[in-house]
Symmetry: C2
Amino acid sequence: MKNVNKTQQIAVFKALADPVRLEIIQYLKQSDHEVSCGEVGRKIDISKTSGSYHFKLLQVAGLINARKEAREKYVSLNQATFDKYVTNFYKNI
Amino acid sequence: MKNVNKTQQIAVFKALADPVRLEIIQYLKQSDHEVSCGEVGRKIDISKTSGSYHFKLLQVAGLINARKEAREKYVSLNQATFDKYVTNFYKNI
DNA sequence: TAAATAGTTCAAAATGTTTTGAACTATTTT
DNA sequence: AAAATAGTTCAAAACATTTTGAACTATTTA
């Protein structure tokens, strides 16, 4: 695999292989600006503990950018990771 | 998600989220012609039971085409599925 | 026709992931 | 200062995936 880290490649696909996380990603894409974890969690109706778990996984995979401001954590999609590990996956195998 | 089946979308990412299956896919891509399950299994050194399990998952996800000829099963990548569910994923969210 | 080969199926064991609730930290509001 | 809000951490429970070996079917070779 060209230029990609195999461990991250698998973390990316694992992160995408879940309906809750796909909903999160969907919401973040259509928001197209930073939103708080709480806002996302409310919209897709998951507990805050579960949200915390899923946001962490997405973050470790590099699929989201996260920034903590005071009490709140703001997240947005990291397009570069999608490009490198998803969009260009087939080409780079 | 535009034009994609959510259940298949998740099956695709689950199928890709495993090191053994990534090796299989890698081998199939560089072979660029049909190869038997046995040949792949030998190259990446997995038991035939395990191979059978992984090839089935790839097949159910639509990522490989499979054809049984007599004793042997020949497989190849299904590029259309990669295009639709992986390469175009971000665009279609 | 017996033995070998390719692959599948099944159930059990081993591993890994996700959800839950309680307890926690840090910040903001009353 | 107390209460409320946003999010994290932890351990346990619930659930899902993967590996293993034995038994099986079907085909080919000796």
